[in-house]
Symmetry: C2
Subunit: 234 residues, 2 copies
Amino acid sequence: MSNVKSAIVLLSGGLDSATVLAIAQAQGFKIAAMSFCYGQRHKYELKKAVDLVSLNKILRHVIVDLDLRQFGGSALTSDVAVPVDRTLEQMAHGIPLTYVPARNTVFLSYALAFAETIDCKDIFIGVNALDYAGYPDCRPEYIAAFETMANLATKAAVESSGNPIRIHTPVISMTKEQIIRKGLELGVDFANTSSCYNASEDGACGRCDACILRIQGFKTVGVKDPVPYRSNEE
Amino acid sequence: MSNVKSAIVLLSGGLDSATVLAIAQAQGFKIAAMSFCYGQRHKYELKKAVDLVSLNKILRHVIVDLDLRQFGGSALTSDVAVPVDRTLEQMAHGIPLTYVPARNTVFLSYALAFAETIDCKDIFIGVNALDYAGYPDCRPEYIAAFETMANLATKAAVESSGNPIRIHTPVISMTKEQIIRKGLELGVDFANTSSCYNASEDGACGRCDACILRIQGFKTVGVKDPVPYRSNEE
C-alpha cells in the first residue's frame, strides 16, 4: 500500500473550496476533484474549477451532471431572482432563498460513491457554518451525522477496520477573512475562483450575498480581490 | 392543511418496491413516485415502474437520470457479468458483485431533495435486509443513520417541530414469501414488475440472484409468478 493517501475534494470553483483544495494538498493527500453541474445559474464557477484543476496536481477530475432543477425550490436553480444588497445582519437570519434542497447531501453521496470506487476514505468539503449560518447542511452536527451514516453505507466502510470514512471540513468554523488568509498563505491564486451567484465572463455582480461576503473578507484582510466586478451594477 | 399526507415512494419497478407502493397507499398516503435511470443494465425495470404508475393513483412520477457508471465498480452498472446460478447459501455470504457503491445513499438523497420541494416528510424505500444481507445500505442501522442525518440536513426538517422526516422501510425484515403474500393481499399485480438483473422484453433470465430469490418466493407461496422466463436459458 502506498504511503500517500488519496482524498476527494469537492471543488465548486469558489474561494472556499479552492482553499480547501490547498489545505488537503498541504496535508499530503493526493487529490481527486469532484465538481457538479447541477443546474446552478452561476455555472461560471465550473470554469474556475477546471482552471484550478489544470493549475494543480490532480489525479482525476469528475464533473457530475445532475439536474436538481427537476425539483426547483431554490433561487440558485430556478428562475427566482437571487437577492441582492443584503446586509450581513439580514444574511444572518433565516434560511436564504439561495439554499438548494439537500444539495450537500446529494453532493456528499456522490463523493461517497466515488470514494468507494477509488478506494479512498477521505472527503474534503468547503462548507462554512459562519457565512452560511442559514444553511442547515453547512453545520458541524449535520456533517457528523453524514459521516456516521457514510460509515454504515458502503462496502468499503463495512469491510475496513479502524480506517473509517472521514468528512473533512477544514474551513467550517473560519471567517471569510481567515479563509482568505489561509489560502494566501498556501499560495492560492484567488483570480482562479468565482463566488458570485450571478457571475459571468464580465465579472462578478458585487451585490449578491456571496459577493458581499467575499468583498468584505478581502477588505478586512487588506488585499485586493483579483476578481473583476461589473462596475455598471455597483 | 390537508389531512391526507403525501409520501415519496422509491419505485424501481421490482417486486419489493411495487409492494411498498401498495403498503404506502394502504396507509393512506398520497403518493409521489421517484425512479432512477442510473446506468443499470436492467433498465427494463423502469418500464415496469411506468406501468405501475399508470395503474395507480400517483400525484407525480419523477424519473431521475444519473450516471453512476462514471465511477464503475459494480456488475449492475459496468461490463462485469452478473453472477448466475448461485445457491441461497452463496448469496448469504459477502457483498455481491451487483452491489452499487453508495446507491441507496444517492437515491435517498434525491428523495430528500424532492421531499423538501413538495413539502413531504415521508419517504418509502423497499430495502430488504434478508435477501440482500450483503448490501450494507439495506440494513436497519444504515436507514436509521440516514434518517438522523436527513433531519439535520434540510430546511424543512430544521423548521419543523415534532414532524420529522421518516424513512419508511416496511419490507426490510420480511422474507420474499412474506413480501409476495403482502403484495397479493393488497392487490398488487406482479405481472407489472421486473426483478431480473438481465431482464428484457423476452422475459427474465431465471438465473441471477434476483430471479432465484423471486422464483423461490413464489414457489413457497404456492402461486405462479406471472412474469415470463426465457426458457432457453433455464
